[in-house]
């Protein structure tokens, strides 16, 4: 749900990073936080366990600049990846404008990626969204790992609607901004249609 405020001339968009545990969701927004200039970024809020596992969500507000005289602000959220946090994941999807699915390229995690996409579809549906038409990007992360599966195989297993597919090494920042941009583009183009 995009919040367009004509009084303060602001557009707020909520983007959710989704994916299995340890695929690199938090790393994506940590990198964006480190890289963004201080006047653009808000505080990175992490509700994490003592061992740095996301407990509820990470949150990063970003001021992107102006479009058509409106200030554009993105609110980035990550979900906790572990299977047993499903109730929290569903809550975080509430009112989202776009989803970035972060896949873990390691061969051993292929199954976990597939399960997580299925889980995303269910949780989106419960929030009144359709995974087939919401702004959506597939990020193939951890491309640097020696155990990563070939690109073609990942595409065949995980890509289902010709969505933008971006290779990434999140802890090095590779592909991170490109992914966000691909999602932002779809959201803003959607505003145009509605």
């Amino acid at each position: 749900m995009t919040f367009i405020n004509y009084a303060s001339r602001e557009i707020n968009c909520k983007i959710v990073y989704y994916g299995p545990g340890l695929c690199g969701k938090t790393t994506n927004i940590q990198w964006i936080h480190e890289q963004a200039s201080p006047e653009k970024r808000g505080k990175l809020v992490s509700l994490a366990t003592e061992t740095d596992r996301t407990l509820f969500f990470d949150f990063l507000p970003l001021d992107m600049g102006m479009v058509k005289g409106f200030k554009v602000r993105f609110h980035l959220y990550t979900v906790p990846g572990q299977v047993f946090y499903d109730a929290s994941r569903k809550l975080i999807l509430r009112g989202c404008d776009g989803v970035i699915f972060v896949a873990d390229s390691q061969r051993a995690r292929l199954e976990a990626n597939i399960e997580s996409i299925a889980n995303l579809a269910t949780n989106l549906k419960d929030n009144g969204f359709d995974i087939r038409n919401i702004p959506y990007v597939l990020q193939l992360n951890k491309r640097d790992m020696p155990t990563s599966a070939p690109l073609g195989e990942m595409e065949r297993l995980l890509r289902f609607r010709n969505e933008p597919m971006i290779e990434a090494v999140a802890n090095k920042g590779t592909g991170v901004i490109e992914t966000l941009k691909a999602c932002a583009r779809q959201i803003l183009m959607d505003l145009q249609r509605n």
Partner: protein
């Protein structure tokens, strides 16, 4: 449900802001926020300098969402009120209509009873405005042409510019 954008116009925003401002004065509180259930701040009043309002909005919404989840688990529709008591400052969080959250931050200059009383009145007024906004949104989703979106001509260049290239 799903994709129903919240579009707020000048006059509605001014009205909301007025109610929030009055509530803050009448309840002798430090700050009052009106937040959307999805975590976005709608309006605020009071001394905002010492507070990270964006984080507050997001965490409040997370808190309310989690509490909603708890309510459903035990068969309640929702808990309409949350109260957090600190050593100096207290947070009074209540639900307004379907999508609003009202957050009142107050200290010893006020009291829970006073805040409660004032919130009740303000909530009713806020709800009326929310209903108006919603009604308009619904009537417009049918005939979108009447409402000229300023985003009808977003280009790839606009998006590139946002990302600084």
């Amino acid at each position: 449900m799903g994709k129903l954008d919240l579009v707020m116009f000048e006059e509605e925003f001014t009205q909301l802001q007025e109610i929030i401002g009055r509530l803050q004065v009448d309840s002798s509180s430090k700050v009052v926020f009106l937040v959307d259930k999805n975590g976005q701040q709608i309006a605020a009043s009071g001394d905002l300098r010492s507070i990270d309002a964006t984080s507050l909005a997001s965490l409040t919404a997370g808190n309310v969402a989690a509490t909603d989840g708890l309510a459903k688990l035990i068969g309640e529709k929702e808990f309409s009120l949350l109260f957090h008591e600190g050593e100096k400052d207290n947070l009074h969080i209540s639900i307004v209509g379907k999508r609003g959250i009202l957050v009142v931050l107050f200290d010893h200059n006020s009291s829970l009873a006073l805040v409660r009383l004032r919130v009740k009145k303000a909530s009713r007024e806020l709800q009326e405005i929310f209903e108006m906004v919603e009604k308009r949104a619904q009537s417009q989703s049918g005939e979108s042409s009447k409402f000229e979106s300023p985003f009808s001509e977003i280009t790839d260049e606009d998006i590139d510019k946002l990302f600084g290239d």
